[in-house]
């Protein structure tokens, strides 16, 4: 059925093609047919973009835990992709630490089938580097890529040994696919649960030093240099890690990195807040100290940080309502990312809207070699419409995700998602009351 939609009005920001201005988008059969000024509607349905809003290439979150198969009580592909589009994301890349671990093609196919049934955000599975992510034996990376994996990671854990990481980089490099590492030295991390520093000491929590992360980042940068392959550093949080990435980039190493919104918004001081030992502040890597947050903000502004990715990690309320030591690590992030980026990065003057789109769309597509991140004619019509001035109150109880583990409940922020289109279909539209 010839399906034409005219996205009219607003400011079109398409950094990949150097476009920024009052342009309209004509979409036909799920593809961008034309980009131009004052396009005539003719027989197309018209989507009026409210004044002051941004029309951007669909946002892409390359670090999401969809929990299916095996942990459907926390999230499913259906609820996770619903959460994604509510958060303005037209595509997500999902990590393999499901049950069983996504270390072979059959599981990747299962995930893609579920995503197709849900018909919401696009899902790009990330396959495990090693069997079961146990760090002993390389998984069948070739088969996994053929099934649809776009990258490899043992996320949840670091790639266990330097030798395995080297081989993985070489092999994945041959396949043209990056290895994503959850950087953490297990012996320094020990049984830590919070950032090693004043607040962990005050609260009597075992600490994880920033160096536990950066030591592994340095390893990976060196191995990427050795192999000439691409390594992507997941959820970077420590200033020492940023230094290592920056130095690697200066040497021409193919290293990229991502930072999650909580790491540029919160610090370990939040643990000692009015609600003490709040397990919605427990994640790995942990909330670090002010100097680390400042470094992440600097890196985001100066270009060292390539991507903002949420590390969306849903956990059931029962699992989080326990002693801090016993609670699982992680918070949800798909529906809080855009307001936090607007409120804490754009409105504070740290970055421009153009840079925001690079961090949330252009670069994620580039890093993972995904289609998207662009509004060029002939590309799939994945579009996110954003309102920089929209007042947003985060309400955990109203999240589309199956889980509610967020530290931002009750926060009022400025900037949100008006609408999300995947393949030309409107899969999310904010109502006047439910400002997301």
């Amino acid at each position: 059925m010839a399906n034409r939609l005219l996205v009219k009005g607003g400011r079109l920001v398409d950094p990949a093609n150097g476009v920024d201005g009052a342009f309209d988008l004509l979409i036909e059969d799920g593809v961008i047919r034309r980009v131009g000024r004052d396009l005539p509607a003719s027989d197309a349905a018209v989507f009026e973009v409210p004044a002051g809003c941004i029309v951007a290439p669909g946002l892409i979150d390359i670090h999401v835990h969809l929990r299916e198969p095996g942990q459907e009580h926390k999230e499913t592909v259906a609820t996770g992709t619903a959460s994604a589009v509510a958060g303005g994301f037209t595509a997500v890349a999902c990590m393999p630490n499901t049950e069983p671990v996504n270390d072979h093609a059959g599981i990747t196919e299962f995930i893609l089938k579920k995503a197709a049934e849900a018909r919401l955000a696009r899902v790009y599975p990330i396959g495990a580097v090693s069997l079961g992510s146990r760090g002993e034996q390389l998984a069948e990376l070739g088969e996994q890529k053929a099934a649809g994996c776009v990258a490899f990671s043992d996320d949840g854990r670091p790639v266990a040994t330097a030798l395995l990481m080297r081989r993985a980089l070489e092999y994945a490099g041959m396949l043209g696919v990056p290895v994503i590492d959850h950087c953490e030295d297990p012996s320094l991390k020990g049984d830590g649960v919070a950032h090693e520093g004043l607040f962990a000491s005050v609260l009597g929590l075992r600490g994880i030093p920033g160096v536990a992360e950066s030591l592994m980042v340095e390893r990976d940068v060196s191995l990427a240099e050795l192999t000439g392959a691409h390594v992507h550093i997941a959820h970077m949080s420590a200033r020492q890690s940023l230094r290592a990435v920056r130095a690697g980039k200066e040497r021409g190493v193919r290293v990229t990195c991502e930072v999650a919104p909580h790491h540029f918004t919160l610090t370990d001081e939040a643990l000692d807040g009015p609600v003490k030992y709040d397990t919605n502040l427990k994640m790995n890597p942990p909330l670090r100290e002010a100097a680390d947050r400042e470094a992440m903000l600097d890196g985001i502004a100066d270009g060292t940080v390539d991507v903002i990715a949420t590390d969306h990690a849903p956990h059931h309320a029962d699992e989080k309502m326990v002693e801090f030591d016993r609670a699982p690590f992680g918070i949800v992030g798909l529906e809080t990312a855009v307001p936090l980026v607007f409120d804490r990065l754009v409105h504070t003057g740290r970055i421009t809207i153009r840079r925001m789109i690079e961090l949330l769309s252009v670069n994620p597509a580039r890093v993972m070699n995904l289609p998207g991140g662009t509004l060029a004619e002939g590309t799939p019509a994945d579009v996110t419409i954003l309102d920089p001035a929209m007042p947003v109150t985060i309400r955990a109880a109203e999240l589309r995700s199956r889980s509610r583990n967020t530290p931002f409940d009750g926060w009022t922020l400025r900037g949100g998602v008006v609408s999300t289109l995947v393949g030309g279909r409107v899969v999310h539209a904010a109502t006047r009351e439910s400002h997301r």
């Binding site: 005050v202 009597g204 003490k276 016993r326």
Partner: protein, 331 residues
């Protein structure tokens, strides 16, 4: 001072009223107490102490109240001390040690406590291996919670009985040089004592091997040294902390022998302290590891007094918290 005409003669008269209640209905840590509240607890403990010298060591004050001692970590000393304190106040007391409890069947902490609460205890005294466990309960449960030790975080009644002991010998806390020596990183006794002594104006010196110093300690307050000689020099009070031998597995120190040689409190080292120094230890002691027997049993040692003061201090805490119950349950 109000002079409500309808006030009964028996009501307390003007000179008796002081800030005679604690602001919180729980005792989760020293961190929530100000100097006035700490003084109130110590003063009340003075009166409680006398009850232990009578032949009938009981007062009817908490008659009809139920106190549950929920100990997820083994403890004879603290649990017994609380039990005796509760019985001296005529409360009905019940102790649960986890080896026999439903927790071993995988029941969560919250469910364990909620099941207990269905039987309406007035107060729960809890010791748990996880820092912050009592804070979780205080948020989610109805009973008043007394923290008998949570992980590495706090052990408030221990710090209070330590302060009571110091005050009994020195007449004050402000201005005293107090040295705390040992495994500072893992010690809840250390954290609670540090906060209390600094709140009351003492000059605290903390000492331990570099591997066992909590990060950020310099910002806590107090002076920091890895030399026990420096810490003990001129000290009015020396408090030795227990060192767990299992720590050797985390590479914190190579051997018990070396630990004693670098950080053990010997009579020679103690001579550097003030002439009337008192030596304290929360117990149980590792003789020959952190403290020499000659010192533990010597003239300056007040270690056994600490234990007997523990009952009086815990009676004071239970009395003051129980009295808050009717005053609007607000955490």
């Amino acid at each position: 001072m109000s002079t409500t005409a309808s006030r009964r003669q028996d009501a307390p008269s003007a000179g008796d009223l002081a800030p005679a209640s604690l602001r919180s209905r729980h005792l989760l840590g020293i961190a929530g107490l100000d100097a006035g509240e700490i003084t109130l607890i110590l003063d009340t403990a003075e009166a409680m102490k006398e009850i232990g010298t009578r032949s009938v060591k009981k007062v009817p004050t908490l008659r009809g109240r139920t106190v549950v001692n929920l100990f997820f970590e083994p403890s004879t000393r603290t649990r017994t001390s609380f039990e005796i304190a509760e019985k001296r106040l005529s409360a009905d007391t019940l102790s649960i040690a986890t080896a026999t409890s439903s927790v071993t069947k995988g029941e969560s902490l919250l469910d364990t406590v909620r099941t207990l609460e269905a039987m309406a205890p007035d107060m729960i005294v809890m010791r748990h291996a996880s820092s912050g466990a009592p804070h979780l309960l205080a948020r989610m449960c109805r009973s008043a919670i007394v923290n008998a030790g949570d992980g590495m975080h706090e052990h408030p009644t221990q710090a209070l009985l330590d302060a009571f002991t110091i005050r009994a010998h020195k007449g004050r806390l402000a201005g005293l040089k107090v040295a705390i020596v040992g495994d500072l990183m893992h010690s809840r006794v250390f954290r609670s004592n540090l906060i209390l002594l600094r709140t009351m104006g003492a000059d605290v010196w903390t000492c331990g091997p570099a591997t066992l110093l909590p990060p950020g300690l310099a910002q806590f307050g107090g002076r920091l040294t890895t030399s026990i000689d420096e810490a003990v020099e001129g000290a009015d009070v020396v408090m030795m902390l227990r060192i767990q031998q299992e720590r050797m597995h985390g590479h914190f120190f190579p051997s018990v022998r070396e630990y004693f040689s670098l950080f053990g409190l010997t009579p020679e080292r103690l001579r550097r302290a003030a002439g009337d120094v008192i030596v304290m230890h929360p117990g149980p002691m590792n003789r020959g590891v952190e403290i020499d027997s000659a010192v533990a049993d010597g003239p300056g040692s007040v270690i056994l007094e600490q234990v007997s003061n523990g009952v009086a201090v815990r009676m004071a805490v239970l009395y003051l918290l129980a009295g808050r119950e009717g005053q609007g349950g607000e955490a």
